[in-house]
């Protein structure tokens, strides 16, 4: 049992090492180095919030309340899109490590999927400030964050396993993926209210796993109510599907990575 625990610890340490290495490689050679880990998502989020919170915002709502609502939506989405893109590139970008170190190949997309973690941290810090500024305070519903934080990463890992394995053989997938993610963002009520979607699409939004993730954040921080259990169930089904598909695809393709890397 202790042996198993030791192995698990070593493997977890390996994933964490790869995760840290991703950041080091990404910001190495820059003037402010690791500060970009937090600064980059903050700036991106700032631009979107300014644009959609103030420039394109309606006149009715309290601006701070609207910003909180936007952060709860765009922050998790930023983590999701960054995680998926990093995971997609993870095997190709780390082929030298894959070849020269005895590291399990599926750790690369898993570690890269967590690249959006700073975005989530920024969401939590900004939300805390805004909750205080708007006088909303913290409610019991904040406990939903215990699920809201890990669930998107579980989803990204599943998607990451699928796309990273495919990208090894079809590099065009990265370009397709970035367009797909942008399209998904605009078809998901992240920066606008679900009611603004065409009536035909509104029932379908429930099936969108990204919308469900955003909803859990909004329920715990903005609406301060229980998350929709059916939505949670749909999200869990998606996570299971992506993991099953990702593991199956990854296992099938990993034996031939070397020929394409």
């Amino acid at each position: 049992m202790s042996n198993l625990k030791g192995v698990a610890q070593r493997e977890l340490a390996q994933v964490l090492n790869l995760w840290k290495l991703n950041y080091r490689t990404r910001f190495t050679g820059t003037r402010i180095g690791r500060t970009w880990v937090v600064l980059s998502p903050m700036l991106q989020m700032g631009v979107y919030i300014f644009a959609f919170g103030f420039v394109f915002a309606g006149s009715g709502a309290d601006p701070l309340e609207h910003v909180l609502w936007l952060i709860c939506g765009y922050g998790p989405w930023q983590a999701i899109s960054e995680g998926i893109m990093s995971a997609a590139n993870s095997l190709v970008a780390n082929k030298a490590i894959l070849k020269n170190f005895n590291v399990r190949s599926h750790y690369f997309p898993i570690a890269a999927s967590m690249m959006g973690l700073p975005s989530i941290c920024v969401v939590l810090v900004f939300s805390a400030v805004l909750l205080a500024a708007t006088g909303r305070g913290v409610s019991f519903y904040i406990l939903w964050l215990l699920l809201a934080v890990p669930l998107p990463f579980l989803l990204i890992m599943g998607i990451g396993l699928c796309v990273s394995a495919v990208v090894v053989f079809v590099r065009d997938m990265v370009q397709v993926l970035s367009v797909l993610l942008m399209t998904t963002m605009f078809f998901t009520p992240i920066l606008y209210y679900p009611e603004r979607l065409p009536a035909l699409l509104q029932p379908l939004v429930m099936l969108n796993p990204f919308y469900q993730i955003v909803q859990i954040y909004r329920c715990s921080l903005y609406y301060q109510k229980n998350a929709d259990l059916l939505g949670m169930l749909i999200l869990l089904v998606w996570i299971c599907l992506f993991w099953l598909m990702g593991l199956r695809l990854f296992r099938k393709l990993r034996g031939s990575f070397e020929s394409a890397l």
Binding site: Q14, N17, R24, N100, F101, F169, K252, F257, E258
Partner: protein
Amino acid sequence: MYIECKGLSKRYFASPIEYLKLGRQEGSCADFWALKDISFRIEEGERVGIIGRNGAGKSTLLNILSGYSHATEGELAVTGKVTPVMEIGSSINQEETGRENIRTAGRLSGIQENQLAERVQEVIDFVDLGEYIDQPMKIYSSGMIAKVSFACVLFTMPEILVIDEVLGVGDAAFKAKSEAKTRELCEKGKILLMVSHSMATIRKYTDRCIWLDKGRIRMDGSSAKVTEAFELSVKKEQESQLLTQMEKAIENSIFGEQVRINQLQVLQEDGTFGAEIHIHQAIRVKAEIQSEASLGQVDLQISCYSLRGYLLFASSYHKSTGQWLVLEPGRTAMLETRIEDCNFNTGTYQISLMICQKDTPFAKRAALFRVVNDQYYNYLDCPQVYYHNHAKLKKLHREENV
């Protein structure tokens, strides 16, 4: 600790779509088997070399053993931690210092945080780069990068070290250090598995060798025997290619209008036409020359070349007899020359006959002959040379001043 392969095969698919159709038994015509039915067992402490021509499947086998690639068929059992060294320096982050890269390599190799500082210092001492160790690696020379990369591997204490053509990097002093370290690892019962195109490297570092040929094991045995057989096979193949080239060159080199060499034969000592001439036999070279016009005094030049085109000897009728040859027009002359004591090694040689006037050639013809040396040490293209040494003892008288 051991490595065991049973019927290991690896197929590369022709297109990415084929990768997705797994589980199917049939393959398309364009599919390529890099390895086919490989079986062997490597025990603790063994140092094994993998040799073979390009495309034989050496690197594919190492990739499978190191876990980077997977076999399409067969069983593989590896007990022990495999450390692959496939591309020296490729995993280095040039923006980071040598120290940071060593630390990263240690972490990726699974060294625990509480041992990391000690191990990093060991590597730093080993590579001995002085103050460069805290400089970004982008300013390092390629030799320095290779040193850091290789030292990182050695100090991760690999159980099974898998090396692809990268042993012996850096300067002479570092080579000696890394060689000693590699030997130390092997003496501790670790397994070394290396691919190299240098037979000298294989003989130096390994005691067992597996020769792969077109994805199959052709020979498995002591490094000395296997590398010798491999070298011989390569030479034979080269010889066959050179022979074809030389045959074509001979066909193209025949010329002569006013005078023609109709026939050129290399015969055995007794005048019979045999396939092979044995070392130390005499060779008889017979030629039939036909002259159409009166050329006056001409010379006959004979030269012998090895298969690789090295001139082994050359002689001329005029130089050896002091006379010129006069060919009567419309008549055929038979000429025969004799080369005493052929001291060539086993191989195919070219004898060339040329009729010329001063430096102007009139006719040329060449023929091939084969020599077999079954008596002495044999090395391609090198003639046997004997030195007759005579040592005489002479008493030295020293004049002493009284």
